[in-house]
């Protein structure tokens, strides 16, 4: 039985943004710190570090999840997607990101990576979101700048454009 010792680092192999990745972590290392400090992906933000603020939200096996509530060793064998994978190519924004820009759905930008990752998963599963449901879903994220109104507007606009893209595809 593999017992990973507290005092040494152990290889964690997983798929990160579509690429097989292996890096070392102590058992106690949080996935947030693993992504940011070991793998250099600093787009995932660290806010409250106990699962309340939502800034560190990423996808694990396709589902939105808190990186700060996950140990790096737990994602061995899993597929992880972070904010760095959201834009289709450098210099081009995704439909959701572009909607955030159009609607001024961010000011300081600290909560934005988590908001985007959560909404990306939500819109994929719910192409026709209802505003009340969307607001309930966003209760898992704190934004202290916008008052949420432009965020909800951006999400609804992105959903509409994504539906049009699908219809015209």
């Amino acid at each position: 039985m593999p017992r990973l010792s507290a005092t040494s680092r152990h290889a964690v192999s997983f798929v990160l943004n579509g690429r097989s990745t292996t890096a070392d972590a102590e058992p106690r290392m949080l996935l947030t710190d693993f992504l940011r400090h070991v793998l250099g992906l600093t787009g995932t933000h660290v806010g409250c570090e106990h699962g309340v603020c939502g800034a560190c939200t990423i996808h694990i096996d396709g589902q939105p999840a808190r990186a700060c509530l996950t140990l790096a060793v737990q994602v061995d064998g899993a597929s992880v997607r972070t904010i760095e994978d959201l834009a289709p190519e450098p210099g081009r924004l995704s439909v959701l990101q572009a909607a955030f820009r159009r609607h001024h759905a961010l000011q300081c930008g600290f909560c934005t990576p988590g908001m985007l990752m959560s909404l990306d998963a939500y819109l994929a599963a719910n192409p026709e979101p209802d505003e009340a449901e969307l607001r309930k879903y966003l209760s898992g994220h704190l934004c202290r700048c916008t008052g949420y109104v432009p965020i909800v507007a951006a999400a609804l606009d992105a959903a509409k454009r994504l539906r049009e893209d699908t219809a015209n595809a």
Binding site: R3, H50, G51, L69
Partner: protein, 275 residues
């Protein structure tokens, strides 16, 4: 806020998980989804010497219906149970309460049994388990026992689980015919722990109400049909018997009021769904 050092065992068989628990006792903690345990580690409220990850055990990852109960294994995530196609027809109270557990972004990882193991007095899953008269399956490497939910939750964050035992599954009784159900809670924000939560279960002959967030554990009480003003009297008596306390989130008086209000609402709603 970083967790203190601990060893990490990725159990490949249930026997391995049991063996580590038997050897390490209180120094070991089971980790499943980690949605409660990881922040407790980060805040240093838990300092285990070893964590045992049970999420690679296929025998714990199942939802099954047998002998009139829904059997939810320790590896089943809250989102998986919510997505189980038979949930609303087999157990509508559970289907009504699960969307109130944390946020979608934590239900994706958090497990049903993990919430039961943590035993927060405000948590929805323990409340539903008590409301339905469900039970908890505990196992060690030598034996297995099943404990009724009302005996399992013994206080705030404390349960009848022994050090060498792990929660293998929880059993939610399926909805029998001629039952009405309702669930409601009041919290500061959606996804926060409830200040008070109520679950009602009614038949033509009886009314059962379970309340979370008021006493140090979820508490259920059962009455006869409760016609007219008898309902208000019964709720008032129950509200006082729960021995509410003042805390940061609400006063004892406000909590008693929530028991009377929400209690009435869920009982009426459950009666409508029975009719």
């Amino acid at each position: 806020m970083k967790p203190p050092p601990f060893d990490y065992v990725r159990a490949a068989t249930l026997a391995e998980a049991h063996a580590v628990l038997a050897t390490e006792g209180t120094d070991a903690r089971i980790i499943a989804g980690g949605q409660t345990l990881v922040p407790m580690l980060s805040m240093r409220l838990a300092r285990p010497r070893v964590l045992i990850d049970i999420m690679r055990l296929p025998e714990l990852a199942t939802i099954e219906e047998s002998a009139g109960s829904i059997h939810v294994g320790a590896g089943v995530r809250q989102a998986e149970l919510l997505a189980w196609p038979d949930l609303a027809s087999r157990q509508p109270l559970l289907a009504a309460a699960l969307p109130w557990v944390g946020h979608a972004q934590t239900r994706s990882r958090g497990t049903v049994c993990g919430s039961v193991a943590h035993a927060d007095p405000s948590a929805e899953i323990p409340l539903v388990l008590v409301a339905l008269g469900g039970s908890i399956v505990l196992s060690t490497r030598r034996r297995q026992r099943t404990v009724a939910a009302e005996q399992f939750f013994i206080g705030s964050l404390s349960t009848d689980r022994r050090d060498e035992e792990l929660i293998a599954a929880v059993l939610f009784p399926c909805a029998p015919p001629e039952h009405g159900y309702a669930f409601r809670e009041f919290g500061r924000r959606h996804g926060d722990f409830a200040v008070t939560a109520c679950a009602a279960l009614v038949t033509p002959e009886r009314v059962r109400l379970a309340v979370g967030g008021v006493a140090d554990r979820p508490v259920a009480r059962e009455w006869g049909a409760l016609a007219g003003s008898a309902l208000d009297d019964a709720l008032n008596e129950f509200a006082y018997d729960l021995d509410a306390r003042d805390d940061l989130h609400a006063t004892a008086r406000f909590r008693r009021d929530l028991v009377r209000q929400l209690g009435r609402e869920v009982i009426m709603e459950a009666r409508r769904c029975l009719a």
